[in-house]
Symmetry: C2
Subunit: 712 residues, 2 copies
């Protein structure tokens, strides 16, 4: 599953840079008005201090070089250096706070943050060594008005949707999707490529760009949890009230007399209309109409709505609720999912306005009545309250990369039972903000057969946006595994095939999985740039081979990337290839028409994207498909396959590009609010567990400095 | 229970004010530099427009009067008026945004917001009609440095605890507690008195003051939910892992070899020390030591930790978990509480630093082992992670009243199974910020017998702070009920006794409940000011009678308050009485010594505060008390009674000041992290339910304006 993905931050600037070389380069760059050296204590070795000696960098005249950081023994050394250099005007300025404020550059300049270290620092060290610019500065740089921003803390802000209206006539930028080959346990690095690419575009090629990422599962999803669990509480409370009250009692409570007047609420009027009752005076309803209005008559066996929690709590996978005596014996079996698996998360990611989100929330089906009618959140009366709970969540969160380029972090739906892409709204806002010549880079979960296919067929259909290019991320290691390399297991040392040159395995992976995934993108008419996320053990011959074979397989271009080591600088070649690819016309088309029967849509994906010979629909799945066919509007929904991400087939162990298999469709479900049908190919876990030694053993916080340890 | 309390906002400015009279008064007030008229559309009746006519208020020269608001037909009229008056310099200023910005007054001036309305506006209308000043302006006014503030949105900010250090040598202000007579279903209004009082002190008497309130249950508690449920997930996962693995397997997983090195984490070292094992090399542990280290051996029958959720979800009161096959048959019965009932909430409210919170979180007892040893959160290894999840929650949230005076909203523990008071940290920060001559007004949940008693014996003990005065809130209606008035039921019209003069009933309530609660405060050596929260139907004779009798019963003073109608102006008399009361020396003392046996502490509260003849301790309660007596540090904890708030006795129907009863102690529990023993007097519900027609039916949001309806 795709959960851990969310926890991996960008890994940038891992290289040991020659400070002198870098400073000289920056000195020649007319766009750079100042250089801000942030030196973590560990970086202040003799070697580094020597290279800072004034006599060695006379050429730096004209640039203000500020030095900040280091702990007491080093502070003194640095202070002396600064005084001798006259780099700061007054000694009293030696205070990191005031320096940080001064260091803000002229409006369009670049503040470069260079880390100097002799060891490879951890992600946490890198992150701490950087001082993020205040989010309101970032917002100003990218053209947001103060009233379009809602600042949360120092480095995050929600962006109001009114921006879309203001920039309505602004042409969109280029729209680039980052997808991957079929994932392996070794990790491919789609998120780091996404970040490296926008850093290269913005900070190195001087092109406006925006990254749009999925949000992590703990924390910012709280509106979703509250909304999801309100629906659940409303379901069970309603069943209790219906079981213990007469029609008349229910009606008089649901439509109470307030100061002598009885009135339906707007949400109740909507339910009446769905029931075909065109009346608005409560007293005019016939007893039969009252009965159908007050009784949802939910079938306890057919409630599909689960509660959610944000913790990996495996004991909540299957539970029995209602066992207190106050619930009068109305027990039933149900379960909790992890919060990101909620349909509300999928809705958040697909809605293109508050209004759209609200109506999707109202359409969510929570179960069926005993007579087989779908019961919706609006039938429960909660749709308005859900929209209120989600009113802040719908605004994308603005953050920044290590190099100060803008990022939207927004929505993180599951990539199996949902579509695994960040939000439509974040992409739309970003496309307006970057302008016609800019770039928005967004990422799809899992391999291209899942995340990319859903990006095109579900997300692009919902948004109306059309992609200009796909970046397909591959690693030498993953290609070797797809080419027939041995399996790996957590904790055990990597087999030698993965850490020494093996052109045979590389070639096998390119000719199978990489080739198929390139072709998958091409079926949608979108050019593909293959990005090789380079590891230290990869050899030049291996990298060259992938570049050559990828192009032979139809890629527009294929380039190695070194962003993990070097940040944006390491992804400049990729950025140039992407720029080139998007300058060509693209001929986007959907894979299937929505009017096709449900079974045909499933078959199309299985055969054309996965390479299956056919599909095998179980009786249960066929029964559901027939039921959905009868329900208005269900049969024209797009398909969201719930399949393992570890193989193009349904069998995780079959790497490469398997053929000769028939894809089993075990069951079929619907997320009517989100707007898709999801066929289940195998069992999908929607609640992870905790291992014996969970990572919480290492997590701690320093009560004084508030520094957190143990995260990476 | 005390939940709904949290949902009631301050009710201020409900009166129909003669605009002219008010403007003239303000004109004479040298502290007022400008008047900001905010006119909601509904207010723009002919009567109001007439009184705005220039010829009627010539005396307003010298003040800038700005008019903002109203919808199109009225805008024109107002604009004409403004132009004729020359009240704004340029016509182009007619734009609510720019006016709002201009209207900020010279630094110490008061911006008065006057609402003009012919009907009584709803709380929501009032709240919308006000434009809050940006929270960073407020922060500057009260003396916070920018780096001490973490802004969340436009009107809320977290305040960093480093402030305490900076203002370390600053003397504290006066510390005032708002408590109430024994609550009735009619509502007494402690929160509105708290707000009215600080508005009167700050905006009308020009004294620094701060209100400290409890936080509502939906939303800001998300750190608590996450932390609480992480503990729960860790408990069940641990039991599963212990049930399915050998000592050796557990040990090698709990203390894994990383790059060939095995090391205990600091959290594991703490557990070893508690077990009396003074070793730090994992390989040096004997098999017996490994066994005791790896096995918490939790008794599934004796796990006291519950999961929490933020929704009133009654079907989670009692559930069976672990029914999925992956959990291998380890099912058990447990339940969910509402989030605010978590011990973590009580800890948040009592901690006086990050360090203190962290060690309290580690001490929380989640259950006992089969051999009867308490098992703590630190034994589970989660204590550091819990502190990380709570790192933002521990910072008090700065907000403001309608009159722009500062408020801390922080922590909202239950008032029955916990102590029902807002946080120690908010009070401490506020006391420093107001300075020696300033006032901090904080509120205790339920009646004075519960909230105030716990404020003194638990919260003041934890904080070391000493109160200067108690404001005891009473209403004529509540006193009538305590004096023998008939019972009332929701929805039914109020009996005539409550809406027409009845001096007998008033007198009865004063001589019983009011008198006893005044005496309760006096037992702690703190002066009491009785605040009568005046309702429209109260007669002058009734109000006078309460004032007279309260003083006869020992109150320092007793005054009527009209803040609900008039805002701070209506509480000026109360503010003056409080100022007077706090100028006298106070002789605070605790009710009991911590060294007393647990039973004696309970008996002391029952007899001296509730007026019981004695207590009756059940066998189960006695067994627990004996067990706690054996556990180190448990027997010296203070007592947190879990008793009904509807009577001084344990019988909700006994109003006034009951005598001749013996208080039954059904069971006794401990919140070791929060630091109190809580005896159960009756059954306490920790999970409310949803009614047939929950308020969500009326809640909705306008997708364009984001205006929420249906809240009040």
């Amino acid at each position: 599953n795709d959960l851990n993905k969310h926890k991996i931050g960008p890994k940038i600037h891992k290289t040991t840079i020659s400070i002198l070389e870098e400073l000289l380069k920056l000195n020649d760059d007319p766009r750079v008005h100042g250089v801000y050296l942030h030196l973590p204590p560990a970086a202040l070795t003799n070697r580094v201090l020597n290279s800072l000696k004034p006599e060695k960098d006379d050429s730096l005249e004209g640039k203000t070089v500020l030095l900040v950081g280091g702990e007491s023994p080093f502070r003194l050394v640095l202070q002396c250096l600064i005084e001798r250099r006259g780099m700061v005007t007054a000694k009293s300025h030696w205070d990191s706070k005031s320096l940080e404020r001064e260091v803000r550059c002229p409006h369009n300049g670049i503040v470069s943050v260079w880390l100097i270290s002799c060891d490879v620092p951890s992600d946490l060290q890198i992150s701490r060594a950087q001082t993020a610019k205040p989010v309101n500065h970032l917002a100003e740089e990218i053209g947001l008005l103060p009233e379009e921003l809602e600042v949360y803390g120092r480095s995050k802000a929600k962006v109001r949707l009114s921006l879309l209206e203001r920039l309505n006539s602004q042409p969109d930028g280029k729209y680039v999707l980052v997808a991957g080959v079929t994932p392996t346990p070794l990790g491919e690095g789609k998120s780091t490529v996404t970040i490296g690419l926008v850093q290269a575009l913005s900070a190195h090629l001087n092109l406006n760009s925006f990254a749009c990422l999925r949000q992590p599962s703990q924390g910012p999803t709280f509106g979703i949890k509250a909304a999801n669990n309100l629906v659940a509480a409303a379901i069970d409370a309603r069943m209790l009230h219906e079981a213990t009250q007469s029609d008349k009692a229910l009606f008089s409570r649901l439509v109470p007399s307030v100061n002598g007047v009885r009135r339906f609420s707007p949400i109740q009027i909507s339910r009446l209309r769905r029931l075909g009752i065109i009346k608005s005076d409560p007293s005019s309803l016939s007893p039969e109409e009252v009965n159908s209005f007050v009784r949802l008559d939910l079938d306890p066996e057919k409630i599909t709505w689960h509660r959610v929690v944000d913790t990996n709590d495996r004991f909540l996978r299957k539970i029995t609720i209602g066992q207190a005596s106050t619930e009068k014996g109305l027990t039933r079996e149900t379960g909790f999912d992890i919060a990101v698996a909620s349909e509300i998360m999928a809705i958040l990611a697909l809605a293109d306005s508050m209004e759209d989100m609200k109506s999707r929330l109202g359409r969510m089906v929570v179960g069926t009545s005993r007579s087989g009618t779908p019961v919706t959140a609006e039938d429960l009366g909660v749709s308005g309250a859900l929209a209120v709970l989600m009113k802040d969540a719908i605004k994308p969160t603005l953050m920044q990369t290590l190099e100060g380029t803008p990022v939207f972090v927004h929505a993180g739906p599951f990539a199996n039972i949902a579509h695994g892409n960040s939000s439509v709204l974040a992409d739309k806002l970003a496309l307006k903000l970057v302008g016609e010549d800019g770039f928005v880079v967004t990422e799809a979960g899992f391999g291209a057969d899942i995340g990319m296919e859903k990006f095109f067929n579900i997300k692009c259909r919902a948004s109306g946006l059309r992609p200009n290019a796909v970046v397909l991320v591959a690693t030498i290691r993953a290609l070797k595994m797809h080419g027939g390399g041995p399996s790996v297991s957590a904790g055990a040392p990597l087999p030698t095939e993965y850490i020494s040159e093996n052109l045979n395995l590389v070639s096998g992976g390119c000719q199978s999985n990489l080739k198929k995934q390139i072709q998958n993108a091409q079926q949608f008419g979108v050019p593909v740039v293959v990005a090789i996320n380079v590891f230290r053990t990869d050899t030049p011959a291996e990298i060259d081979l992938v570049c050559q074979l990828a192009k032979e397989c139809g890629a527009f271009d294929a380039v190695p990337c070194h962003h993990w080591m070097q940040g944006g600088r390491g992804a400049v070649e990729l950025a140039q290839a992407v720029k080139e690819a998007t300058s060509k016309p693209s001929y986007f088309q959907f894979l299937y028409d929505l009017q096709m029967p449900i079974v045909e849509k499933i078959r199309t994906i299985a055969k054309r994207i996965y390479g299956a010979d056919d599909i095998d629909v179980s009786a249960e799945a066929q029964r559901k498909i027939d039921y959905y066919h009868e329900q208005q509007g269900y049969s024209t929904l797009p398909i969201c396959m719930a399949k393992t991400h570890l193989s193009l087939s349904h069998l995780p162990e079959r790497k490469g590009a398997p053929t000769g298999f028939v894809l089993p469709i075990r069951d079929v479900r619907a997320s009517v609010g989100a707007g898709f049908i999801y066929p289940l190919v195998g069992t999908m876990s929607t609640m992870p567990g905790l291992p014996t030694r969970a990572c919480f053993y290492d997590i701690d916080i320093d009560p004084i400095t508030e520094e957190i340890s143990g995260l990476f």
